[in-house]
Amino acid sequence: MANAMEIYQLLPKTNCKECGKSTCMAFAVSLLSRELTVDDCPPLKDDKFKANYKKLSDMIVPAEGASESGMIVHEDKCFGCGNCVVACPVNVAEDSLGAGIGRAPTSDKVILRVEDGIVRTSNVHDCRRFGENKILCNGCIVTCPTEAIEFV
């Protein structure tokens, strides 16, 4: 997952305010929260920032790609190890004799499963980061070797 500093490093760093934010750092934070998009920074369209523009666009998956719980899976980074599938507390609770013990999920209620070598999501409403009693669960984030899962 990118952090604001990494994003900031790729910005023009001129604090021109054209994006409506007071500083480039503030713009970086808005990018991270998906409040603004890479295209909201006009100087980035300049030829000399072409490479940075490309990098930023790859780094910041648009919010439309996120599930309702805010989860984004970077499919290019995921290699299907299943760590997140087995670590997710909802998967364990719903499928204690399948995903919970490391085997193929046997319940329709799991949030994470691996198909064609890439993690897929379902039942995202049940994610512990969602709804009224939400908590800052990070089971699927810290167990991923490649930072393929991110929440916005």
Binding site: G80, G82, N83, V86, I101, R103, A104, R113, D116, P145
Partner: protein, 421 residues
């Protein structure tokens, strides 16, 4: 214990973890969807990008012609080499041993330059081992040493070692297990182990083992490189207090040691104080099977030479490894089965291979097959043909073919070559 297949599940032969919980969707004899396998497994099950055709001297021929040509090469050879078989079923491996006896071949596999020494120590009861199911059910301290399963065996942590709940590990990884990684670089696996990652310099494993043994013995650990002794003491403490410990030995550790003595010493010390096991991170899906099958037959797990016409005489030694026999130009023909030595061996060693006739049996084109005199395509085992294989922990896993094919299996090809001899 033989692991029998749940009828809805298939086995992945992408690595020696042999995951046995794979579901597939098949449409018109083509696998269109694969569930639960990792990306590595998916790419194996989807088949080759470059399937191999039967050829002799680069010309496409009928499969029977290719088999005949292979038999001719072996017939005319004084000292043939048979190599590979890590990606073949037990049945094919046994056939290859039979063929090697028949033609008096040198027989070796990749274990002679990777996990051979570890397996030898386990086969000879010098090191205590256990099954991966034991690890899942009981292990509370898990050490990956010189291994990065996140890349080599992607489901290792999720299926067996760190993340799953087990009979005696009901509270899972957060509370019930500690995972340690010792490596020369911060690999993907090391990242997961967080502050339990120990980064050591290249080739320093033996010194680190010695220091760890000192720490386990209550002495102040010392290493000839900069390292906080407190961290080694802390590591020793975790290992000492393990109820069921496991060390997964990767190639990084094997390559940096001259022999197994340091590991044996460490295991002995650990087992004076607690309860530790060791499993080698075998790569190819049935490399351990080859070693086991040859061991059962000859008492050696690799690097053997059979005597032509004398079924019982077998020599064993370093000089019969693929590396030495090529270096010494001891072989005059090579039968390579499911392996690509021209890309895995150092150039200087592989050079001699280019001067002798090569026969390759493989589902896919490889660097070696492109230089081969005879190529014989085989069915992709685990996908197009069934059989059994030995998982990295020694458990036998049976599997059925997933799709149909008319391509011959390794075992059938070897049988046909024997007949043609």
């Amino acid at each position: 214990m033989v692991i029998l297949l749940n009828e809805n599940y298939h086995v992945c032969t992408g690595c020696a973890l042999l995951c046995d919980d794979i579901e597939v969707v098949i449409d018109a004899n083509v696998i269109t969807e694969i569930k639960t396998a990792c990306r590595k497994g998916v790419s194996r099950m989807k088949g080759c990008n470059d399937p191999m055709s039967p050829t002799v001297e680069g010309q496409q021929v009928d499969i029977d012609v290719a088999i005949g040509a292979a038999a001719d090469i072996l017939k005319n050879s004084e000292s043939p080499l048979i190599f590979g078989l890590g990606n073949s079923t037990d049945g094919a491996q046994k056939k290859a041993i039979e063929l090697a006896k028949h033609i008096g071949a040198i027989l070796d596999d990749t274990s002679s330059f990777c996990q051979g020494p570890t397996l030898e120590a386990i086969f000879n009861d010098k090191i205590k081992s256990c099954t991966l199911d034991d690890v899942r059910n009981k292990a509370d301290v898990i050490v990956y040493w010189g291994a990065d399963p996140s890349n080599s065996h992607p489901r290792h942590l999720s299926k067996f070692s760190y993340f799953p709940r087990g009979q005696e590990r009901q509270r899972g990884w957060e509370e019930d297990r500690t995972m340690i990684s010792i490596d020369i670089r911060k690999s993907h696996t090391a990242k997961i182990s967080g502050d339990k990652f120990h980064q050591i310099p290249l080739q320093a494993d033996e010194e680190f083992i010695d220091a760890l043994i000192d720490a386990l013995s209550g002495k102040v650990p010392k290493v000839p490189f900069e390292y906080d002794p407190k961290r080694i003491l802390e590591l020793a403490n975790i290992m000492k207090n393990a109820r069921f410990g496991i060390i997964f030995v990767g190639l990084g550790l094997v390559y940096s040691l001259d022999n197994m003595d340091p590991i044996v010493k460490l295991m002995d010390k650990l087992n004076e104080l607690s309860n530790f096991h060791l499993i080698p991170m075998v790569g190819h899906y049935n490399m351990r099977g080859f070693n086991q099958n040859l061991f059962n037959e000859t008492g050696h797990l690799n690097r053997v030479k059979f005597e032509k016409g004398n079924n019982t005489k077998v020599q064993h030694g370093a000089e019969f490894s693929i590396v030495e026999s090529l270096n010494e130009k001891k072989v005059d023909a090579a039968l390579i089965i499911g392996s690509d030595p021209l890309s895995s061996l150092p150039r200087a060693v592989a050079d001699h291979l280019l001067n002798i006739p090569i026969i390759t049996i493989d589902p896919c084109e490889t660097f070696t097959s492109r230089k081969a005199k005879v190529t014989i395509p085989s069915a992709l085992s685990g996908v197009e043909c069934g059989g059994s294989a030995i998982r990295m922990d020694g458990e036998e896993v049976m599997f059925e073919p997933i799709i149909e094919t008319t391509t011959l299996s390794d075992e059938e090809i070897l049988t046909r070559i024997m007949e043609a001899l």
